[in-house]
């Protein structure tokens, strides 16, 4: 699991990025969809109809697109988290736990603090990000101080975060009666748009008259995706334009040389894991402040962090790549539901498709081999 190895791989792919990676990824997506089609056909579903149902289910109404975006937002950001750590030589399997920490802190701050609107949301967000950053930095600290591999520590911290969150959710002061969730956050902390108004009597009355907007308002529209864009720009700037980014990348690529050059490698591990943790925490906070408005007692990992790994890897560990692959991911997941409701096809197809896409993005060499064969054939003709 040598990170240096990963980085070398990454830098190799970075070299290719401009000319080919995007194309390769598109080809991989194509192969993924074909694989899905074959399996659908094998199981007795018409693949064309199935994909058509999916496409209709994703694109045919504006609200579907909004659902897709809402679904994509958290995994875009956990994707950033994983990608950022990768770029600085660390493998953050812990986005899952950092997401949970961000979520629960946002839920607590959103309910217990009493602040004016906007400020409340910002404070809750900041606290959540701070807590998750500390959670991430803990893994960085263990690596720096004790040489504990971040893969182990982040896996362990994921489970600890899960149970800690459940403990908090179920503690008497926090738990909402007749539920297994925290109290709903206060309206002042919410970052969804028209969330309160749209279900008020007034709002409902207006909606009944404006059917188009009525439909449009059904999803939990929130500012998450805008924050995601801002965070993406921020990561890009940190990595490419700042001194901190220089430092973190240097450590990521060659920590011995960085150390020799005077960079504090241990501090760098911690900063990098703190930023990665903060990002995942931001995803959790946005989910709570904008969509769920509460934290529930989790019986298992929800998979935001693990999906983030796939998003980061398909996205070539760049912010823009994560953004696009996160959207794709969100669309597939949302569309997968449509596949089930419209066609009765099992939604596991989507995992298979995502796995296949990822599998083939890992193998530019194979794709290059195929494309060159095709070109050859063409030339022969």
């Amino acid at each position: 699991m040598s990170i240096k190895a990963k980085l070398t791989n990454w830098s190799n792919s970075a070299k290719r990025y401009l000319d080919n990676t995007f194309v390769f990824t598109l080809i991989a997506i194509f192969i993924g969809l074909i694989t899905g089609a074959i399996i659908l056909a094998f199981a007795g579903f018409n693949p064309f109809e199935s994909y058509w149902a999916m496409a209709v289910g994703i694109f045919s109404k504006p609200k579907y697109i909004i659902y897709t975006i809402i679904k994509a937002t958290p995994i875009i950001i956990t994707g950033y988290s994983v990608a950022f750590a990768f770029r600085t030589g660390l493998f953050n399997i812990g986005a899952e736990g950092q997401f949970i920490v961000g979520g629960i802190v946002a839920a607590l701050a959103g309910y217990f603090l009493h602040l004016p609107p906007v400020i409340h949301a910002m404070v809750a967000f900041a606290l959540a990000v701070g807590a998750a950053a500390a959670w991430g930095a803990a893994a960085g600290y263990l690596k720096a101080r004790f040489g504990v591999h971040e893969v182990i520590s982040t896996i362990m911290l994921n489970w600890i975060a899960l149970y800690l969150s459940n403990y908090l959710v179920m503690s008497p002061a926090v738990k909402r009666a007749e539920s297994e969730a925290t109290h709903k956050i206060l309206a002042t902390a919410r970052i969804d748009l028209f969330g309160v108004w749209k279900v008020s009597e007034q709002g409902m009355a207006w909606r009944m008259e404006n059917r188009f907007f009525h439909d449009l308002l059904k999803p939990d529209i929130n500012i998450g995706i805008i924050v995601a864009i801002l965070l993406g720009v921020m990561i890009f700037l940190i990595l490419k334009k700042t001194t901190l980014g220089y430092e973190l990348r240097a450590v990521g690529f060659n920590k011995d040389a960085a150390e020799n050059g005077g960079i504090n490698v241990n501090r760098s591990f911690m900063s990098s894991m703190a930023i990665a943790g903060g990002l995942a925490g931001a995803a959790g906070a946005l989910q709570v402040l904008g969509v769920s408005l509460e934290c529930v007692n989790l019986s298992n990992m929800e998979g935001y962090g693990f999906d983030g790994i796939a998003v980061a890897l398909i996205g070539g560990n760049t912010p823009a790549g994560c953004f696009l692959s996160g959207l794709l991911f969100g669309a597939l997941k949302y569309g997968g539901g449509k596949l089930q409701s419209m066609m009765g096809a099992p939604r596991e197809i989507i995992s298979i498709v995502i796995g296949t896409i990822l599998f083939f993005t890992a193998m530019p060499k194979l794709i290059r081999y195929f494309t060159s064969r095709i070109n050859q054939k063409r030339e022969e003709k």
Binding site: F91, M156, W159, Y163, N300, E348, I352, G355, T356, K365
Partner: protein, 318 residues
């Protein structure tokens, strides 16, 4: 008292077993230089195939072998990607997890009439327990040693893998391609062949690990049966410093922490420290195995060094 210890030891063994299989797989694969994050998916497939073959054929050993075989098949994909086509090991491994988890559930629906759980094996079609009846029920010996054959097999396999890696020709070659593939290549060793062998073996072991769950610990497959075991096994392998025996100890540590957790969970949910009592909620207890692992790592385990070429693709000619 003795029976409490017996219970904790028995639970330790039960918990550690599937992890030991997968951790052995991780150790073999990484010693050959290939990172295998796909273990989770391979265990998943193994658990499903084990339960399914067991259900339809009624023979636990065939089921167990079939689980190993399907693990090998999935591992082949990982091998093709990482060894033949220079894929990034991490990406391929994560891809395999998505793929196999989806595929196992998909197949399960086909074989079990739309359900994502298989049907239960008959009790007498599960793995045998070689020492069943050899001890008084509930005696110390019974609690510790009345385990499924998969438990004993896991420990035998630790020994075999240790022997294989450190005493035999193929082991020397596996480790050499993990440390310095080019050196091995210049000595006429077929790096790809050795790595394929190691990766496929790791898949076999992961498959066994899955089946050890679905045809021994319980008797059917369900979608949450394997949840994070593969990753914990990888952590255990790193914890064990890339050695099979070390990985085994790490798994046992983890298992015993689980045993303690359950034991403490029964004893009234309160720890009396004389001066004051700490209420131990079951959520706090549930953190125990993970926290213990971290504490032990920090306190007792020095820095470990991975095989130098782990995660690197080897291309014969640039």
């Amino acid at each position: 008292m003795l029976s409490d210890i017996g219970f904790i030891l028995g639970t330790t063994l039960m918990y550690a077993t599937p992890l030991i299989y997968a951790a052995l797989g991780a150790a073999i694969s990484e010693n050959s230089g290939v990172v295998n994050l796909g273990l989770e998916g391979m265990m998943y497939m193994g658990a499903f195939i084990g339960a399914t073959v067991g259900y339809y054929l009624g023979n636990p050993w065939i089921a167990f072998l079939a689980a190993g075989a399907v693990g090998a098949l999935v591992a082949c994909l990982h091998g093709i990607a990482c060894i033949s086509f220079n894929a990034d090991h991490v990406v391929s491994g994560i891809a395999i997890n998505f793929f196999s988890i989806g595929f196992a559930l998909f197949l399960c629906r086909i074989f079990f009439d739309g359900a994502t759980m298989s049907l239960s094996l008959n009790f007498d079609q599960k793995m045998p327990r070689p020492f069943n009846g050899a001890f008084e029920p509930n005696s110390f010996g019974d609690l510790v040693f009345n385990q499924y054959a998969t438990v004993y097999l896991a420990f035998i396999l630790v020994l075999i893998v240790w022997y294989l890696l450190y005493k035999t020709r193929i082991g020397l070659r596996i480790r050499s391609v993990g440390e310095h593939p080019k050196a091995a290549d210049t000595l006429g060793i077929n790096v790809s062949r050795v790595r394929y062998l190691a990766v496929i073996l790791s898949g076999v072991f992961a498959g066994f690990g899955g089946a050890a769950m679905s045809i021994a610990i319980v008797s059917r497959f369900s979608p949450t049966l394997i949840s994070g075991h593969g990753f914990i096994a990888i952590a255990a392998m790193i914890f064990g410093k890339w050695k099979p025996q070390g990985a085994m100890l790490a798994c046992l540590l983890f298992g015993s922490a689980k045993g303690f957790e359950i034991f403490l969970g029964a004893s009234g949910l309160e720890i009396d420290l004389g001066i004051f009592k700490i209420g131990m909620s079951s959520q706090i207890l549930a953190m125990l195995p993970y926290a213990v692992t971290l504490v032990v790592l920090v306190g007792f385990v020095g820095k470990a060094v991975a095989p130098s070429a782990v995660g690197l693709q080897y291309e014969k000619e640039a």
